[in-house]
Amino acid sequence: MSPTQLEMRSGESADLILRGATVLDPVAGIDGEHDVVIRDGKIAELATPGAAPDDGLETIDASGLHAFPAFFDPHVHLRTPGQEHKEDIATGSRSAAAGGYCGVLAMANTEPPVSTPADVEALCADARNAASVRVGFLATVTRGMAGEELTEMASLRDAGAAGFSDDGLPIRSARMLRRALQYQRLCGGTIALHEEDPELSGAGVMHEGPVSALLGLEGIPSISESTMIARDAALAGYEGGRIHVQHLSAAESVEAVRAAKAAGVQISCEASPHHLCLTDEEVRSLDPRRFKMNPPLRTEADRQALIEGLRDGTIDCVATDHAPHAAEEKEVPFEQAAMGVTGLETAFASLYTELVVPGALDLSLLIERMAGGAEPFEIERSSLAPGSEANIALCDLSVEWTVGEDGYESRSLNSWCAGQKLTGRVQMTLAAGQIAYRLRSFSIGVAA
């Protein structure tokens, strides 16, 4: 079986010193102030603050800043091919770099969907030209996401598919998912699942509950998600397959994953910043640009269950489901608007502001989960241990900023926290040993 393939633009390996940074890597057991010495794209040394000699390296005054292992997002939409008016590999990966990410996995629900080895090869070649951070491309489980025939999963894997997903749509047929799980034994590749029973979701556009009752909008019940998770966990358990559940939104879903994990199923899952920060109360504004997505924003009890799942490890990682849309696709009444919000540039800051600052989540746990999206896809997690490739998110936790005031790296404007004041911002990102991003206002000045 091939290892999971990620691609990015090759560039100059970084040589620099982050002087006096507060270095936090809970997985590697690092928590303290250090001079982070980066040579030839690798973390050469974590030196006592002020102790590392300049050696002609660029030196960045990182005192008061935090260095975290760069984040990994297993769920983004780069809209290539076919919807480049929303996003492409260059803008989407730049958006990721601006959010402190060193890698992302792009979903396959493009136009056309990524269903053939040639599609995957073309995307990998694009990423080698254009991507600021490592990008992996998932291929669809079923041809054209039609739910009727399996794709050539083994050939797709050989061509570089980082995994499989029909994201955007559930795999309606249990038989079809079963066949994919059987075939997975041959070719590997985690199957990522958008869990939703279309029969229960109907034409729903928001969470079903008192707010949808008030607004007269068709609801998507929580059980639409949790019943499918239970079904698919049972299938994965039966076939010994490996599944990853995307964008959990409901308390019942957290419970379903918890039960599956306890039963020994190879299952992992993710939650998005917007589901961790917002509830369906926001939909009262009827603003689809910020608050319409699938799965929908749910209740405060659901949000608390997601936070608890993140704490106890039921939820393995944060994933943004970064879903760019053109302005005209969102400047329509709520029911007609496209589903999805962008999130790469604000994921860390929003969760830091909404969960860490109020004390609902430890910073170290957030950092662990922000980088936790790699492992479910058999990708090595970023580390700040000496000897590791430099994948670093350098953040200022004291700065306040207003989302969107300087525009976005993404091509689209549908950020769920547009206009919000957030605390904490990524100043610089190193990805695969290269400098992937520098905040424009962040002084690159050489420390004295």
Binding site: S212, A213, L214, L215, L217, L286, E328, V332, P333
Partner: protein
């Protein structure tokens, strides 16, 4: 008040101000010349993306009685058919510098969006299954004329609440005016969580005798195909308001159009307890009052005192 987008946004005092204004327009309707010059030289656009008889005709007549210039646009046969977006249509119509845009649209929140885009006052004449505020105002007006006050009155809303913007707006409006609300219908047609809006939910008409007012909703025949109810016959057996269920002292309302023999039996529609025709008449004066409140109030004279239902004598202007 710049726009009328929902009942939810209105206070009790604002509702009463509109109703008081409507009372004075009722007087205009009794004159030989039923027209006043209030909105002379100003333009009202009605933009209807759904078919409508009552709402569109009463808004149009209301605008004419106030001497406004009227432009009526129906989506069918307009550039909407050619794929023009709501935003672009509104931009086009805004070139006429209308004072008000009256919008009926099949989707929730459409009026709110138009209010963001246009300089005109926007009146929501029904947005999807969300709200229909002018209907709720005319219904409160109709009941207020009967009862003086809705305080403590028991109102039952019966039928397909799930698909009804009228039910939502009326529930909020009746509650704001102090009535006690019960909602009754088949379980699949009552939205989950509705009781949290402050009404009682029941699936049986057994206790409907308690009601002072029974407000029946339209049941569309398509609901049967979607299995919300197994059959129209079974729906009628359980939820039709007929002379057996409607007591002599109870009042009956319906927003129209009625499905005779489904949600209402023929004899109750034509009974003296039925306020259905009165609702339509109220629609005209209440819509005149809405246009007046949004476009003219505060310009020429102070709004009538809130809560002073019967005796104010605000001059409406001389016959045109």
């Amino acid at each position: 008040m710049k726009h009328l987008l929902s009942i939810e946004q209105l206070s009790k005092a604002e509702i009463e101000a509109i109703l008081d204004r409507a009372e004075s327009f009722a007087e205009v309707g009794r004159r030989d010349i039923k027209k006043v010059p209030t909105l002379r030289g100003r333009t009202v656009v009605t933009l209807f993306y759904e078919s409508s008889t009552r709402t569109s005709s009463s808004f149009e007549l209301a605008a004419k009685r106030l001497s406004a210039d009227l432009v009526s646009v129906k989506a069918a046969g307009s550039s909407v058919d050619k794929g023009e977006s709501l935003k672009d249509t509104v931009a086009t119509l805004s070139a006429y510098e209308p004072a008000a845009i009256v919008l009926r649209h099949p989707h929730a929140g459409a009026a709110q969006l138009v209010a963001e885009w246009a300089d005109a006052a926007v009146i929501n004449a029904g947005d999807g299954k969300h709200e229909h505020p002018s209907q709720a105002l005319l219904d409160v007006y109709t009941l207020r004329r009967r009862f003086g006050s809705l305080e403590g009155k028991r109102i039952w809303i019966v039928g397909d609440v799930l698909h009804s913007r009228v039910a939502r707006s009326n529930l909020i409006a009746f509650k704001a005016m102090g009535a006690e609300l019960t909602v009754c219908g088949p379980p699949a047609l009552i939205p989950r969580g509705l009781e949290q809006l402050g009404c009682e939910v029941t699936h049986s008409l057994d206790r409907v005798g308690e009601a002072d007012v029974v407000y029946a909703l339209r049941l569309q025949r398509e609901r049967m195909q979607e299995s919300f109810v197994p059959s129209i016959r079974e729906y009628a057996a359980h939820f039709q308001i007929d002379s057996r269920r409607l007591g002599a002292r109870q009042l009956l309302m319906h927003p129209g159009p009625v499905n005779r023999g489904i949600e209402l039996s023929g004899e109750v529609i034509d009974s003296p307890q039925s306020l259905i025709a009165e609702q339509v008449a109220s629609g005209l004066v209440v819509r005149m009052a809405i246009l007046y409140e949004l476009l003219a109030a505060g310009e020429t004279e102070p709004a009538p005192a809130a809560g002073n239902g019967a005796t104010h004598a605000t001059p409406i202007g001389q016959p045109a």
